[in-house]
Every structure is written in structure tokens, then in C-alpha cells.
């Protein structure tokens, strides 16, 4: 029916129109296709959100009506609530072009709808639930060790992100919520492999990643915190650049050439 490249939004808008028709169009909204979820929220004020219907409207184009997968998207059997919650809350899904790498954007759905979809995807099989994060007794030291050994190779020692090849980028870790970070370790979204950490290790890691954000920077402006590449740019442009300007200023008194002296 629909091929890769066709926007999920059109599918969503079509489904919404159908919904409105069937429910008699309780209140005629200004139907801006870009505000599908908002409109949907308003049309269904008192009725509980129907996860299945929402899934069929917004996800089934690629993942299949029962989440069995199509040629445009993987099967969701057994991915669990953790995966659905991660993908939806970070706005990675729905994806407008199934060949692109899913990146963080504003979530397409409100809280209630995400919850409904997550619950519905959870019924597809026996997948991991949304993890609980408890930083009460988490260790910074163990978090640092685990982070350098497992995460820094792609996300960088400061969590700034990096290019991992295969046309994929490991995102920076400064915006993900605690639960999202934990979910990513369990789920392994995109190119990222799933990690088999214990709950304590996961908490330590989340703790360290959160720490990295507010880490004091005693050295001043951190210019990206990714080491020698920006440092080299600053050394040339700011360091040598300012000194060359000074040189031009010092060496530019042309008038004085006339009273120069001869030697030799």
C-alpha cells in the first residue's frame, strides 16, 4: 500500500478523518495535519485512548497491523514496553522515512497516547518492561568504569556523541532522560547493541551520564568537550590569529620606512 518515503503523517491524518467520521465528528477542529495528535487528544476527551486503534493509524504502515513487521519496518514482537517507550518518548518513532537513522525530535504523541501505544506494543510478546531507575545508591566510580569500557567507544568519553560508521551517528547523551538512558541500554536502538547490565550497573551508568552534564568545568569554556579537533581550531583561529593581527599592527608603520638606516 504505502511505500517507504510516504509520510506517517498522511497515514495519521487519514486515520483521524476516519475516526472523526465514525464518531460523528463530536467537535469540528481546525484540522491541521501537523497537529494530528493534539487534535486527536481533543476529540477523545473522556474515552480512554485506544492503543490498538492508534497503532493501526500511526505505526502499522511500517510495522504491520499486528506488529508483525513489513518490508518497511521491523517486527515488534517481543520488543517490549521499554523499546516502544524509548522510541516514542524520544520522538524517534514515528519515522518519516524508514531508511533514515531515527534521531531525537519532539515526541509526536502526548503522554496518554504514548502510554496507550506502549501498553499495546507490550501485548505483542514477552519483551522487557520499562526499567526503573534508582540513583539513590548508584556509584559514580563504577559508572565511570562501565562508561569508558562500554559506551565511550561510540558516545565519547564526555558523552558528546560520535560518528560510528555505517552512515550512523552515536547521539550525544546530554538530553536523554534517566529512564530513556536505561531503556537504550536494554533495547539497543538503531545501530546500538543491547547491553546485558545488571540493574545496579545500569543505575551506576545513568548516574555517571547525568553527572557528566553538570560536571564542573574548572578549565573554562569546554569548546565541545571532544578534545583536540576544536582545540586545534581555537589554537589557529584565536591563538595564532590574534597574534598575527598584533603582528600586522606592530609591523604596519610604513611611514617610518623613510628614516630607516642602512647597514652592511
Amino acid at each position: 500500500m504505502t511505500h517507504a518515503g510516504r509520510s506517517w503523517m498522511f497515514a495519521g491524518a487519514t486515520a483521524l478523518a476516519l475516526t472523526l467520521q465514525f464518531s460523528g465528528g463530536s467537535s469540528a477542529q481546525e484540522s491541521n495535519p501537523l497537529e494530528v495528535s493534539k487534535t486527536a487528544t481533543m476529540t477523545q476527551v473522556d474515552a480512554p485512548v485506544d492503543g490498538q486503534r492508534l497503532f493501526e493509524a500511526s505505526c502499522s504502515t511500517c510495522h504491520g497491523v499486528d506488529g508483525q513487521g513489513t518490508e518497511n519496518g521491523p517486527s515488534l514482537e517481543g520488543v517490549g514496553e521499554a523499546s516502544a517507550d524509548f522510541q516514542l518518548r524520544t520522538g524517534r518513532m514515528p519515522l518519516s522515512n524508514s531508511t533514515d537513522q531515527a534521531v531525537r525530535k519532539d515526541p509526536a504523541f502526548g503522554d496518554e497516547h504514548i502510554q496507550a501505544l506502549v501498553d499495546y506494543v507490550g501485548t505483542f510478546g514477552d519483551g522487557p518492561p520499562i526499567p526503573e531507575v534508582d540513583l539513590e545508591s548508584a556509584s559514580l566510580v563504577s559508572g565511570q568504569v562501565l562508561f569508558i569500557e562500554n559506551c565511550a567507544a561510540c558516545h565519547g568519553a564526555t558523552g558528546a556523541g560520535g560518528a560510528v560508521g555505517n552512515e550512523a551517528l552515536a547521539p550525544g547523551l546530554s538530553t536523554a532522560s534517566e529512564v530513556e538512558i536505561a531503556e537504550a541500554m536494554i533495547v539497543g536502538p538503531g545501530q546500538m547493541p543491547p547491553f546485558d547490565f545488571t540493574e545496579a550497573q545500569r543505575n551506576d551508568l545513568v548516574n555517571f551520564i547525568i553527572y557528566l552534564r553538570d560536571e564542573p568545568r574548572p578549565g573554562g569554556a569546554d569548546i565541545g568537550g571532544i578534545g583536540p579537533v576544536p582545540e586545534g581550531f581555537v589554537a589557529w583561529l584565536v591563538g595564532l590569529g590574534s597574534l598575527i593581527v598584533i603582528c600586522v599592527f606592530i609591523g604596519s608603520h610604513r611611514k617610518a620606512d623613510d628614516d630607516g638606516q642602512d647597514a652592511a
Binding site: L140, V141, Q144, V145, I148, E149, A152, A153, C154, H155, G156, A157, T158, G162, A163, G165, E167, L169, F208, Y211, L212, E215, R217, P218, G219, G220, A221, D222, I223, G225, I226, G227, P228, V229, E231, G232, V234, A235, W236, V238, G239, L240, L243, I244, I246, C247, V248, F249, I250, G251, S252, H253, R254, A256, D257, G260, Q261, D262, A263, A264
Partner: protein, 452 residues
């Protein structure tokens, strides 16, 4: 007092002559001085760092204020750098000024060298000083690399591992050489103290010696100058060392120190604590060397995984990018004055500088060389640039692999054409007044006014 000294050393004649030494006036002649003054800052801050740094790989337990590493086992070297950064008064700012000064030091050497190359200041009789200069550049890079390796954090250890691979990639002698230099198979306990000796004693001593030689030869041979009114091959027109040039240079020294201190105080560089202690099983991405080794890193990144076996000897893929290319590059650079003499058959002494446009072939080759090194340096940071500009890293690698052969040629060709066109267009095309003068007429329209 001065008389007392003069009577014993006969210094008055020498000093009087020295103070009257003439310095031609052009801003680009000051680039080398930036290098000299950065080096002085390096010596001063480096001395301070040496007071607190421990060149020791022995394991210790960290109990300083940086929380994530609390209780971790690490080398005494890394621990002392953390202590320098977090506990020693002014330690971090000294470390940062030192590191910024190192980056600017090598950058100013390169800028100075580019000036000397494009103006033909290396021609007879200055070939010796050119070669001293190339040696100084190599030693400065060596200083930078040894210094980069001393903190013994994850990043510097990664750099050392690459250096080790480069050494052992040399056929026949490589593995022996690797053992000799590193004192065993990487990672070794002894390498930190060896690098330390190189970094704080041997290399600075040689660099100071060569800087003295560089300046002595300059003093003896006198300055080159651009062509101009009253200037000839037989004279030098400019300011006397005392007082004019002295105060210019002294001012530049203070401003160099000020610029480096500002950078060191305001901009973080090499936050060693975030990498953690070196661990041979871990790596962080992005991992880059400092900029002046970036071209070498880039060559390694671009070179295909190609390891032919010739007559039973496997040629490791590291050999060509990490040993052969730099070897050829620096050799050609050092011998350039002689190569040019051989080609142009110009064996006369020159004290008047060339304008780059008057030697289009040399300028084109120089531009090609600069582009080549720049592309390699870009390749050295390809993962950072891929992330920053959101382009696939594979596409970038292939663009650079091909560009490495194409872009320098195109750039050289454009330079050649620009040079010849500038020659034809007159004496100072760069200072020509640009644009046309317009006058608004009574009807509200505009008309061009001829320039007089």
C-alpha cells in the same frame, strides 16, 4: 661597571654593532618571533609543571577531589596530573597555558615556514637555516607528541599505541626497534619515564641549541627584505635593534604571553580527568592527536587496509602512511632549496625576497603541499566533522581519498594562474582601489564617475 666588563671581554665593539643591527619592517617577519616567544612561555610553564609531575607508571590509588575516579587504581603519572589539575594552586591554568602555548608554538612555526617558503627566503645563502628550521619543526612535533603522552590518560595511551604500531611496522628492524624504544611490548611500564626524559631534557636542549644556531646564522647573514625604495641586494633597510626593534619585539613577547594566558585561563584544553586512566582494552571516540599530528592520523585513517606480502615479508598497512609518507615529506621539505636550485639553475645569493606571484611554479607547489597536508589533517578529524556536519563518514573517507590526489593539483593550477594574472595586472593589485564611484543625478538615477 660596563667599562669593567668591556676591559675584560672587549664586548663594547660587539655590543655596539649588535645594537645597531637592522631589522626590515614587515609584519610577516614577526611570525618566527611568535614561535620564539611561545617557546619561552613553554619553558616557564613547563618548569612549573615539572615540579609536580611524576614520571612513574607505578600503580597508586586516587583519593583526590575528582569524584568519578575516587578509589581507582591508576599510574602515579596520571594521578599527579589530576593533582596538578585539581589540587595544586595554579596547576590547571599552568597546564592549560602550556598546552595552548604548544599548539600555538607549532602553528607559528608553520606560519613562519610558509612565509619563508613563498618569499624564497630559503635561497642561497640561507639553505642551512632552512634545514635548521625544518629540523626544529620536526623536533617541535616530537616535543608535542611526547608531552601529549605524558599524562597517561586514555587518550594519550591511545596515541602511544598508534606510535608503537608505526615503529613495529618497519620491515625487519621494526619489532626490535619497538622493544628498544618502548622497553618491551606495548603497554610498557618504562615508556613514561623515557618520554619524560625526552620531553623535559633531551628535546628542549636540542631545540634551544638549534634556536640559538638559527638566530646566530640569521644575525650573521642579515635579514632578507622585500624589494622597495632604496633597497638592494647589498643593503638592509629597516629599524635598528636598539631601540626600535627591541621594543616592538618585547611588546610582541608580552602580548604573546597575554594571549596564551587568556586562552589558558578561559578555554579548557585536554580535560584529562574525563578520559580516565589508560586501559589497553578501552578506547574513546573521538580520539585525536593534537592538530600538528593530525595529518599523520589522517594518513593512517585514509590508507586502505592493504598488507601485501613481498618475498615472504608482510608489509604492514601502517608502514606507508605512518613512516614512508612523513619520511618523504620531511626529506623533500628539508632539501627543497637544493631541489629548486637544480631545477632553476639559479645558484646566486639572494637577499631581496621574491613576491609569491613572481615565482608562480614555486607558489603553485607550495599551495599544493599546503592543501595536501590540510586534507590529511581534515581526515584525521573525520569522525568529529562527520558528526558536526551530519555527513556519513564513509562518504567523507572516499571524498578525501580521491581529493588527496585531485585537490592539490587543482589548487596548484589555480595558484599558478592567479600568480601570472597578478603579474600582468600591475604592481599592487591587492592594494588597488576597488569598485566604481557613483553619483546620484537630479532624476534620482545613478551614473558612474570616472576616477581621477
Amino acid at each position: 661597571m660596563l667599562k669593567w666588563i668591556d676591559e675584560r671581554l672587549g664586548a663594547a665593539h660587539w655590543a655596539r654593532k649588535g645594537l645597531k643591527k637592522v631589522f626590515p619592517d614587515h609584519w610577516s617577519f614577526l611570525l618566527g618571533e611568535i614561535a620564539l616567544f611561545s617557546f619561552i612561555i613553554l619553558l616557564l610553564t613547563g618548569t612549573y609543571l615539572t615540579l609536580f609531575y611524576r614520571p612513574d607508571a607505578a600503580p597508586v590509588i586516587y583519593d583526590g577531589p575528582y569524584q568519578p575516579l575516587h578509589g581507582r587504581e591508576m599510574s602515579a603519572a596520571y594521578e599527579s596530573v589530576l593533582r596538578l589539575s585539581y589540587e595544586v594552586r595554579a596547576g590547571l591554568v599552568m597546564r592549560q597555558i602550556h598546552h595552548w602555548a604548544a599548539l600555538v608554538f607549532v602553528a607559528s612555526i608553520v606560519a613562519h615556514m610558509v612565509r619563508v617558503f613563498f618569499t624564497g627566503a630559503f635561497r642561497k645563502p640561507r639553505e642551512i637555516n632552512w634545514m635548521v628550521g625544518v629540523t626544529l619543526l620536526v623536533l617541535a612535533i616530537g616535543m608535542g607528541f611526547t608531552g601529549y603522552s605524558l599524562p597517561d590518560d586514555l587518550l594519550s595511551g591511545t596515541g602511544l599505541r598508534i606510535a608503537y604500531s608505526a615503529v613495529i611496522s618497519i620491515p625487519f628492524v621494526g619489532p626490535y626497534l619497538g622493544f628498544l624504544v618502548f622497553g618491551g611490548e606495548f603497554p610498557t611500564e618504562g615508556i613514561i619515564s623515557r618520554l619524560f626524559v625526552l620531553h623535559v631534557m633531551l628535546l628542549p636542549a636540542i631545540i634551544i641549541g638549534l634556536i640559538v644556531a638559527h638566530l646566530a646564522v640569521l644575525w650573521r647573514q642579515k635579514h632578507t627584505q622585500f624589494a622597495g625604495k632604496g633597497r638592494a641586494e647589498s643593503n638592509v633597510v629597516g629599524k635598528a635593534f636598539w631601540p626600535q626593534q627591541f621594543f616592538k619585539s618585547f611588546g610582541l613577547m608580552l602580548l604573546t604571553g597575554a594571549a596564551l594566558a587568556l586562552l589558558g585561563g578561559l578555554v579548557q584544553i585536554n580535560a584529562v580527568w574525563s578520559y580516565g586512566p589508560f586501559d589497553a582494552s578501552a578506547v574513546s571516540a573521538p580520539s585525536q592527536p593534537d592538530w600538528y599530528v593530525g595529518w599523520l592520523e589522517g594518513a593512517i585513517r585514509l590508507f586502505p587496509a592493504f598488507e601485501p606480502t613481498i618475498l615472504g615479508v608482510t608489509i604492514p598497512s601502517m608502514l606507508i602512511p605512518a613512516v614512508v609518507i612523513p619520511g618523504i615529506g620531511f626529506t623533500v621539505m628539508a632539501l627543497w632549496p637544493f631541489i629548486e636550485q637544480r631545477v632553476t639553475k639559479d645558484r646566486d645569493a639572494h637577499h631581496i625576497l621574491d613576491r609569491p606571484r613572481d615565482r608562480p611554479a614555486r607558489s603553485a607547489i607550495g599551495m599544493g603541499g599546503i592543501l595536501y597536508v590540510t586534507l590529511l589533517t581534515i581526515a584525521g578529524g573525520n569522525d568529529v566533522l562527520a558528526l558536526t556536519f551530519n555527513v556519513p563518514i564513509e562518504a567523507m573517507v572516499w571524498f578525501l581519498r580521491i581529493g588527496l590526489f585531485v585537490i592539490p593539483v587543482i589548487g596548484g593550477f589555480i595558484t599558478y594562474r592567479l600568480c601570472t594574472e597578478m603579474q600582468e595586472s600591475g604592481a599592487q593589485p591587492a592594494r588597488r582601489r576597488r569598485g566604481v564611484r557613483l553619483r546620484r543625478n537630479a532624476e534620482g538615477g545613478f551614473e558612474e564617475v570616472s576616477r581621477d
